[in-house]
Every structure is written in C-alpha cells, then in structure tokens.
Amino acid sequence: MNKRTGSIGAAAATRSWTHRFTFVLLVALAFGLMLVGKPDSVLVSRLRMMTIDLVAPVINAISRPIDAARETADDVRDYLALKAENEALRLQNQTLLEWQRVARELQAENASLRGHLNFQPGPRASFITANVVADTSSSFVRSLIVLGGRKAGVAKGQAAVTGAGLAGRVLEVGERSSRILLLTDINARVPVVAERSRDQAVLAGRNADLTELLYLPRDSDVKVGDRVVTSGHGGVFPAGLPVGEVTSVAGGHAMVRPYVDFSRLETIRIIDFSLPGILQQDLGVDTTRMLEPSATGTAAGANQ
C-alpha cells in the first residue's frame, strides 16, 4: 500500500514538474512573441488577417439574432412615432425640393463655367459599402473589422468614411474581411487643415473620444467650432473630407471631436481614390509595412 502511494506521489510530482516546466516555457513563448511581433510584424499581421478571415463569418452569424432583436425594437418604436415622423418628412420634402431646384441651377451654371475654363476633372473615386462585423476597440486600440476584403477590391490605405465624414483607413486586408484603423487610435495620424483659418496640422488619435491637433503653427487662428478637413498632404486621403470640429483651444493645443459617431457604425464606405500614397513611412504601426506588394498589386489590378 505504502509503495503504491509512493509511486502515485512520484507520478504526481513528475506531473507537477512537467506542468511547471511547460508554464515557464509558455511564458517564455509569450515574451518571444512580443519580440517577434514588434519589429517583424509581417508574419503577425498575416496571421491576424487569417484569424480574422476565419472568425469574421462566425461573429457575423452570432450577431444576426442580436441584430434582429434590435431591429424589431426599432420597428416598434418607429411605428409609434409614425405620425410625427410623417409630418416632419413632409416639411423636409418641401425644403429638399427647393434645394433640388437650387442644385439644378447651380449644376447648369457650373457646367457652363467649366466649359469656359477648360476644366480638367480629377480621377473618379470608386467605393464599396461594407458591414461592420466586429468592434475590436479596446482601451489600447481603436479598430473595426468589416466584411469586405481583397476579393471586393479593398486595399490597404483606402479611406473609410460614413455620411458624416472620415472614420479611418484600411490597415490590414484579408481575403473577405479587413481591419479599419479609426481616427481615434493612438497610432492614427491624418494631415488636416482648419477650414476657416487654413492652418495646417496633423490630427492624432489618443485612444479617447477626442483627437488632438499636432504641429499647429504658433500664430494659428484656430477657434472653437472650426471645421477640420483633410488637407490631402501625404497622398493618403484626398483634400476636403470632413473630419471633425474643434472643441477646445488652449496654449497651442487644440482638441477635435470627429464627426463620425464611432459607437454607432453599422456600415462603412471604403473609398478608393486611386492616390499613390506614401504609407511606408507613416504611423509607427509596423503592421502597415506588410501587404504593400499585394496591396499595390490589387490596386493595379483594379485599375486595369
């Protein structure tokens, strides 16, 4: 009997030691991954996109019943508000008809003026609309996963916008899904210009709701309430996309609230402006360096 417990005890001790050894090994592996993930993120980035390609449909499937429940609740609420909404829409329709008339006039005038000027139109932008399937934002990163990848013509660096304005840009592209880095991420940098004062600056995310204007000129005349739009510098985004509104200016620091409501993104438009960007140098996120050959390959393929 004693012998038996002795052998069991020995077996347990061996198991415990193997367990401890594996534990130490895995902790070392985690440190190793941190080291690998930092400088050479090509592999990590590709692994990430593979995982996301696999998981995005699963997450999409899980979200179906939740979406359905939310839509039903919205339907009921809409039904209750039908009368008031109808009234509001009728009023809005009148206003819009008036706007349509003005727009037609302006369009005609614009066409005739362009004819006088021999105006050279810029390249046409094409876009796809993609469903937001997962919000991978945490305290430390702000990003989304959308259903729409290389197969749909998405390429790294393209602008992600909503009706309200610029939301971010495509960071990683998989076959069927891609990851959008939001404006508010700590690694996001967008060259912008204040619409009224024409002060150039760089909009930087802070992993918070507000973003910050960096490198504002000393004598800048930026005021609270000013609109901030993309400046088109760096060749990633075209000029003039609305970005946000200045909420505070103090001691050369200005904070900007983005127009896009990041907590309510359901679909997002990914726009290909066919701009030859200089993304290799930007943003500190090493993951951006990868996929460059395939991304340009896709862009070239899309242009053909």
Partner: protein
C-alpha cells in the same frame, strides 16, 4: 471495465471542452458591435474572469494549452501588441493554481477579493507592457477601467459558470 460508446465519448469531449470554448465565445460576443457607448476592454475583462474561475475550479479542463489557445486568439483578434494578452492570461492561470487547494475552500467573498488582487496585477502589467511596446505612455485610466470591469463582472460571471459547472460538467 466497460468501454464508453462513441456517443458517450463525444458527450464527454464537448463537456470537457466547455470551459475553453465558453471563454472563446465570451471573447467573440464582446467583439460584436453593440452600438453602445464604449465600455473599453470588456473582452479582456471577460477572458480574465473566465480563465481565473475555471483554472481555480476545474484545472483539468482549463489547462495551459487551453490558456495558450485563448491568449493567442485574444491577441490575434484585438490589435493589442502581440503576446501581451497571452502572458497576462498565463500569469492569471498560474496565480489561480498557486495555493489552489486553500483558495478553493475559501468563502466566495474572499475568492472575489483574491481575484481583485490578481485582476489589479493583470491590469497594471497590461498597461506597463502596452506602454512599453508602443513606446509611449498610455493613459493609466485605461488600466483602471480594465481592473474595474473584471472586478465587477466576476460575481455574475462566476454565478453563471458555477451553474454550468453543476449542470453540465462531469463530476471529477
């Protein structure tokens, strides 16, 4: 000794895989776009709670390899620096196993307090590592938020897990 049929084996297999698959499911669910104001690192908080609970109560089912799978999934799905989530979860697993026999007999409130300490350590470590790897100081309130979320969600999640443990898991 009677050999279990294939059906019985399958039945045992899915029950045994429950702690790890449940944790992964929680991670996926936390990634859904809920269209709610951002709660922050809710996925990381859920996963921390789940790994601690199962490591403490069912160490045979939440093994090191399970923690490895969960950690890798977490790091690959969120854009956080690679390896940080894995390391933190391994340490949470390790701290649940360390003095497990004494801990598991304690009343719930004490276990919750111990979990609070572990979660605080995990939050500080995550904050330090992310700041170090991103080469800039991250707002410390983000670390505090991770701790608060994990600490507050421990009792409800633990109740759910305990119910699942009683109803579905084979008695070991």
């Amino acid at each position: 000794m009677i050999r279990p049929t294939i059906g019985q084996q399958l039945d045992m297999a899915w029950r045994a895989a429950l702690p790890v698959s449940l944790t992964l499911l929680l991670l996926f669910v936390s990634l859904l776009s809920w269209h709610l104001p951002k709660l922050g690192t809710i996925g990381a908080a859920f996963v921390t709670v789940s790994v601690f609970f199962w490591s403490l109560h069912q160490p045979n089912l939440m093994t090191l390899w399970g923690v490895l799978a969960i950690g890798l999934c977490h790091d690959l799905l969120t854009l956080a620096p690679f390896g940080v989530g894995l390391l933190v979860l391994l340490l949470v697993h390790g701290s649940a196993l360390w003095r497990r026999k004494a801990l598991v007999r304690m009343p719930f409130l004490l276990i919750w307090l111990v979990f609070g300490l572990v979660a605080a350590g995990a939050s500080v470590l995550t904050w330090l590592l992310v700041s170090f790897l991103q080469e800039q100081l991250i707002d410390p309130s983000e670390g505090v938020r991770l701790f608060l979320l994990a600490f507050t969600f421990y009792p409800p999640l633990a109740a759910l897990f305990a119910w699942i443990e009683r109803r579905l898991l084979p008695t070991t």
